[in-house]
Each structure stands twice: as structure tokens, then as C-alpha cells.
């Protein structure tokens, strides 16, 4: 197989998600009465980047054949913590941001450590830790409120040079600074190996334990960044179990639309980003089509099902269906 064909088939999942997003966003903008202007783009970006970050965070454990049910709760916990400590001068605010990210890293590390050393199922472990993180969020912020450093918040949710939504640039920086180096590092490649076949990876000398812990810890970090940006969008924090649950479930949907296999070892965080964009655009389509209000959830569900089916398009290329389960 020639080089480009290999790359094409290897990234088919991601490319499908990109294509789907471009198609849907095109329909959205084509029918939007204001068209594509910086304000419309920023509104869409600010909402989409939140889910994109949580979906990226979900991708890392999924690649190791795990699942992190606590990403949404880490997101909410970061939101509540940020609404308490990202205040004051710009310098103090930035220090608060770093503290929030560090807390996300620590929460993810705890998930990973319990999965690896406690030898518990990731899905059960993170269900429990997620409840703990939600408890901490509720403890920090029993009722909605709080504050944030406005200059940082308005910068991150505004535009660069009056055109490009800053939140998209932040997402790009996360991809360049975290995802790409991680993908090519020993730990990143180890994560794929563990997800494909843990025994074989172990026998080949892959640092299995460290690869898993790193995946969960980085996931926690990225989810916390999402929570931080939510705080910038709302100027406040809220310990909402509904929001945590919604983002967790949607992050899994985004991972699937992005072409990442829930059985691990195959996929990419870039795909998940576009999977998240697709999900958000499905919501936005409600604005441009005059759907009866009580039909909207049904419409969203049908489009979501179609999108997930396209994300699973890999099935059609596989000669032997048993390959899907390896």
C-alpha cells in the first residue's frame, strides 16, 4: 500500500468526522441569517471548544481500552474551583488557572493509579471517583455563584484581531502542545499498544502501567481546562450533576463519531474534536430549521444516530468482522 493511501485509510475515521462537520456547519451557516461573521463564529466556537476538550480528555483512556466516566465531573469540579480561585489581578488569575489545571491532572492521576494499582475496571473506578469529584464541586460551590477574572475571561471568549475566536486558538495550542507530542512519545505509542493488545504490549516491554496512568492524568488535565473555559463563559461556577453527566455522555458520543474505537488502540483525539464539533452543530441546526419545539429532541437523536453510524464506517472496510474485536 502506498504511503498516502496508508495514511488515508488510517485516518479515515477522523476524515469522516471532518467531512461530516464541514457539511453540517455549511448547512448551518448557509441558512443562518447573519451568515458567517466573527460573532457567529465565536458563539459556535465557545460552545464547541468545551465539548471538544472533554472529548479529547475521554479519547486518551479510550485508546488504552478504558473509559473515563469522571471526565464530566472533573470538568464541573474545575468550573467550581475556578469560580473560587481565578480572581483578583491578571497575575493572580493566571496562578489560579494553573492551580485548576494541576487539580485536574491530580484527579486524572488518581483515576489512573486506582485503575492500574487497584486493578479495578476503569468504568467502575471512574464512576466512583466521578461521584467524589462531584462531591468536591458541591462542597466548593453549594449554590451557583462565584466570580472570575474578567480580563482573562473576556480575552479567552473573545476574538484575536477581531476575527478569530480565541477559544479555537486555545484548542489548537492544546493539540500542538499536548496531543501531538504525546502521540509520538513512548507513553502515547504505549497507550495505543495497550489498547490493541495489553498482553502483547507487556511482553514487548511497553511500559503498560505508566502508559495507562499518563492517559488518565492527561485526560484529567484537559477536562479541567474545559471546566476553566466554561468558567470564562459564565463568569461563575455551578456544581451541576446534570452538566457533568451530559458532558460525559456526549464526550463518548464525540469519540465514536470521531472514529475512535471504544475497544481501544485505534483512533485519534483530532477525530474526537471534530466529533464534538459535529454534536454541537447538530444543536445549532435547530436555529436555522423551523422545527416544532417538542420535536427537537427527536430530530437531534435521529441526526446523532446517523452521525454515529458514519463514525463506525470502518466496519465496511474490514474483511473479517472478527478484526473489530481485536
Amino acid at each position: 500500500m502506498s504511503d498516502w493511501r496508508y495514511h488515508f485509510s488510517h485516518n479515515l475515521g477522523t476524515l469522516t468526522a471532518v467531512g461530516l462537520f464541514v457539511l453540517m456547519f455549511g448547512i448551518y451557516i448557509g441558512n443562518h441569517e447573519a451568515g458567517l461573521n466573527p460573532a457567529v463564529a465565536t458563539t459556535a466556537a465557545n460552545k464547541a471548544v468545551l465539548l471538544a476538550l472533554v472529548a479529547m480528555a475521554q479519547t486518551l483512556p479510550v485508546l488504552t481500552r478504558g473509559l473515563d466516566l469522571s471526565v464530566g465531573m472533573i470538568f464541573v469540579m474545575a468550573n467550581c474551583l475556578a469560580s473560587a480561585i481565578v480572581v483578583g489581578t491578571i497575575g493572580q488569575g493566571l496562578a489560579g488557572c494553573i492551580a485548576v489545571l494541576f487539580m485536574g491532572l491530580a484527579a486524572g492521576f488518581i483515576n489512573g493509579a486506582i485503575v492500574v494499582y487497584g486493578r479495578l475496571q476503569p468504568i467502575i473506578t471512574t464512576l466512583a471517583t466521578g461521584a467524589i469529584y462531584y462531591g468536591i464541586a458541591l462542597w466548593i460551590r453549594p449554590s451557583p455563584g462565584g466570580d472570575v477574572q474578567y480580563d482573562i475571561a473576556d480575552f479567552v471568549t473573545g476574538q484575536l484581531f477581531g476575527t478569530v475566536p480565541t477559544s479555537l486558538v486555545v484548542l489548537l495550542v492544546v493539540v500542538l502542545v499536548i496531543w501531538i507530542p504525546y502521540r509520538s512519545s513512548v507513553l502515547g505509542r504505549g497507550a495505543y499498544a495497550v489498547g490493541s493488545n495489553e498482553q502483547a504490549a507487556y511482553m514487548s516491554g511497553v511500559p503498560v502501567d505508566r502508559a495507562k496512568i499518563a492517559a488518565y492524568a492527561l485526560g484529567g488535565l484537559i477536562a479541567a481546562l474545559g471546566g476553566l473555559i466554561l468558567t470564562f463563559n459564565t463568569y461563575s461556577g455551578e456544581a451541576s450533576a446534570a452538566i457533568g453527566g451530559t458532558y460525559t455522555l456526549n464526550s463518548i458520543a464525540a469519540v465514536v463519531i470521531g472514529g475512535t474505537s471504544l475497544f481501544g488502540g485505534w483512533g485519534s483525539a483530532i477525530g474526537s474534536i471534530f466529533g464534538a464539533f459535529v454534536l454541537r452543530t447538530i444543536e445549532d441546526l435547530l436555529f436555522v430549521f423551523d422545527l416544532p419545539p417538542l420535536w427537537q429532541p427527536l430530530f437531534q437523536g435521529v441526526v446523532l444516530l446517523v452521525a454515529i453510524s458514519l463514525g463506525a464506517i470502518r466496519v465496511f472496510r474490514i474483511r473479517n468482522r472478527l478484526e473489530l474485536f481485536t
Binding site: 447573519a34 460573532a39 465557545n46 451557583p144 471568549t157 466554561l230 463568569y235 446534570a242 458532558y247 444543536e283
Partner: protein, 375 residues
């Protein structure tokens, strides 16, 4: 077309530029406002706002959050029915409804999208009272009338519409005090914990029953989550433990609470409850056996008052910043079939849909006749 596009574009860019710029938006003026019998200020210190007058008909959007209980569904149907009434429809060019679920970021984006698209007014039930400060700023800068109702914002910069929840509690408490004048054991069935509505109604009830000059009431408190099933279960449990109550207050799920009394063979006692159709049916049937009721409710018809508020504000009238909507109240012996309750409609229908001081009356048949396929 191009000019409109440019206006929208420059408007939105301005709306999104840095927060240090002065905040435009409604002018703070001194009262009194227009039609004070309908748009009553919540408190004497409530501010009055005046938006620049715009020519109609207007484009109005409803950015709803959660949709999935009967109250919200009835609210959406009411909004449609009201916007199609002849004297309202002439002022409305477009009425658009979007529900975004419980995700606060999605609701913020929904409101921003309506601002970007140049809607004149946006109605919303906030999923969270504190998260909308940046959106409020953007709406005010863009000159959009943002009206929050039911679950309101913690803000004094936009118009909000709600019933005075403390007052509903006072009404409930007063009914018990009037009909159980010598004190006794009262069952208080509360709503969803942690919610401001639950808190305010509870405090209202207690302010009457625990007043210094009140007779001695022993109040047993249970949590019914504003839900018929839950209210019925907790009421049944309380009756099993305490055997006999002299009165009941229930914030929501009133039909279930009364059914619990009936199932346990508990004698009928005075009940102060919400405005569900099933509750009023039972009250009317059993009044002669001692089930004397007071029924005051948070009406899904609030959306109609919010719509009327938005239209009036767009017409450049002076409005209170917080409109306290008259509480729709029916008490024994005023329950009348076909007027304030409907034997043919489901138990879950919320009855209180007319607000005479505002000239707003939406017939139950109009609401329920709005099939979901009508848009």
C-alpha cells in the same frame, strides 16, 4: 439586505468587544411604570427600566432550557397559543422556540445566537441564576430586550418576570390558619431541595404558621419534589407514622398528596396546594366531605406575561425591572368545572392560565388544542 447584514455584523462585533467599554442597554428611570396593575414591581426599591422605542411587529425568541416535564411542555404550548391570539399576533412577526437541555453553555450560545441573528426580544428560563452575566452584557449592548421568567437571573440589569414565591407560601399558610384555627398537626410537603422556589415558599408558609400570634401548629416536613408520585409516597409514609393530620400544605404533586389521604382512609382535611387539574377535580368532588382546598400555582402562563412584557418594553414603555405577576388563586368554594378546572383534561394540566389584570387569558382548550405538529 446588505445594510441589515452590515448592521447585524457591526452590532455583534461591538457586542463582543471588550467589557471595559461602557454598558449600553436600557435606561434606568424613575417609576411608576406602565399598567401597574399588571406589571407590578416586586418591591418598593425595584428599579424601572426604559428601552428605546422600536417599531413592530417584532421578532421574539424563547430560549428554553430543560424540556421534559408537563409544566415545560404546557409552557411551550401556551407560548404558541398566546402568540397566535389576534391582538398579540399583530405585534409579532416571528416567534421562535428552541430548547437546549440542561447544558448552561448551550443555553448561553442559544441566547447569543438569537442576539447575533437580530431578534428584538429573547425570553428565557435560566438553567442557572448566575451564569448569564456575560450574555446579559451582550444583550444590553446589542439593544435586545432579554426577559427572564420562572427561574430568573441574579441580576438587576434585565427585566425579569415571576410570581412572588414567598407570597404563594403565605397564601398556603394563611389557608391553613384560617381553616385550622385552633392549631394542630400540619403536614408540609416541600418541593425540589436546593431550589430557591422551594425555599421561598417554605419560608412563606412558616412566616404565617409560626407567627408570634399564631396558635400552636406542629409541622411535620417531608420532601415531595413537586412530583405526584413522590408526594403521594411521602404523604402515605407520614400518615402511617403520625396517623392523623389536621391540615396539609403541598408545593407540588398536590393530586398525589390528596390521593394518599384517600388511600389511607384518612379523613378529609383542609389542603393548600398547587394548581394541578387533578387536585382541583378532587377538591370539587369532595368539598362536602371536608376536603376544602386553596389552589395557587406557578402558572406555565407566565410565558404569556413574559411575552407581553417584552412587547411592551419594545414599545418604549417604562417597565419595572422585576415584574411580580399576580398569583392565580382559586379557593373553596370557587372551584367551577369548565372555568377553573376541567374534568375532561388530564390530571397533569396546570390550570391557572388567566391573569385578568393583564388582560391575558389563554383557554385550556386553546393550549391543549395546540398539537405538537402545529408550528
Amino acid at each position: 439586505m446588505i445594510r441589515r447584514l452590515m448592521r447585524v455584523l457591526t452590532g455583534s462585533v461591538a457586542a463582543l468587544s471588550f467589557a471595559t467599554a461602557a454598558i449600553a442597554g436600557p435606561e434606568v428611570v424613575s417609576g411608576p411604570g406602565v399598567q401597574p396593575e399588571c406589571f407590578a414591581p416586586l418591591a418598593p426599591e425595584t428599579k424601572f427600566l426604559k428601552f428605546p422605542k422600536k417599531d413592530g411587529p417584532y421578532r421574539i425568541a424563547l430560549a428554553n432550557g430543560f424540556v421534559g416535564n408537563t409544566w415545560r411542555i404546557q409552557m411551550i404550548k401556551t407560548a404558541k397559543a398566546y402568540s397566535e391570539q389576534a391582538d398579540v399576533a399583530k405585534d409579532i412577526k416571528e416567534f421562535k422556540v428552541v430548547s437546549t437541555g440542561t447544558d448552561v453553555a448551550a443555553q448561553i450560545a442559544a441566547i447569543e445566537n438569537f442576539i447575533n441573528s437580530g431578534y428584538d426580544a429573547i425570553l428565557t428560563i435560566a438553567v442557572n441564576p448566575t451564569a448569564f452575566t456575560p450574555v446579559i452584557k451582550k444583550a444590553n449592548k446589542a439593544g435586545v430586550v432579554l426577559v427572564a421568567f420562572d427561574n430568573t437571573f441574579d441580576s438587576d440589569e434585565v427585566i425579569q418576570v415571576n410570581e412572588n414565591q414567598f407570597q404563594i407560601g403565605v397564601i398556603n399558610g394563611s389557608w391553613i390558619r384560617k381553616n385550622v384555627p385552633n392549631g394542630g398537626k400540619i403536614l408540609e410537603i416541600r418541593g425540589l431541595p436546593g431550589n430557591s422556589v422551594d425555599r421561598d415558599r417554605h419560608l412563606g408558609i412558616r412566616s404565617v404558621l409560626e407567627a408570634a400570634d399564631a396558635p400552636k401548629y406542629e409541622i411535620i416536613e417531608v420532601v415531595g419534589n413537586w412530583d405526584d408520585g413522590t408526594a403521594q409516597k411521602v404523604a402515605a409514609d407520614a400518615i402511617a407514622v403520625h396517623k392523623k393530620f389536621d391540615g396539609v400544605t403541598v408545593q407540588g404533586g398536590s393530586t398525589g398528596a390528596v390521593r394518599a389521604l384517600m388511600d389511607a382512609g384518612h379523613p378529609f382535611v383542609p389542603v393548600a396546594g398547587e394548581a394541578e387539574n387533578g387536585f382541583r377535580k378532587l377538591c370539587a368532588e369532595n368539598a362536602d366531605k371536608g376536603l376544602i382546598c386553596s389552589s395557587a400555582g406557578q402558572s406555565p402562563g407566565l410565558v404569556a406575561i413574559a411575552t407581553k412584557t417584552a412587547i411592551t418594553a419594545l414599545q418604549g414603555e417604562v417597565m419595572p425591572q422585576f415584574v411580580s405577576v399576580p398569583i392565580p388563586l382559586v379557593e373553596h368554594p370557587d372551584f367551577k368545572a369548565g372555568v377553573n378546572f376541567f374534568p375532561d383534561l388530564t390530571d397533569n394540566f396546570f390550570n391557572s392560565n388567566d391573569f385578568p389584570p393583564c388582560g391575558v387569558n389563554i383557554l385550556a382548550t386553546d393550549i391543549m388544542g395546540k398539537s405538537e405538529t402545529d408550528n
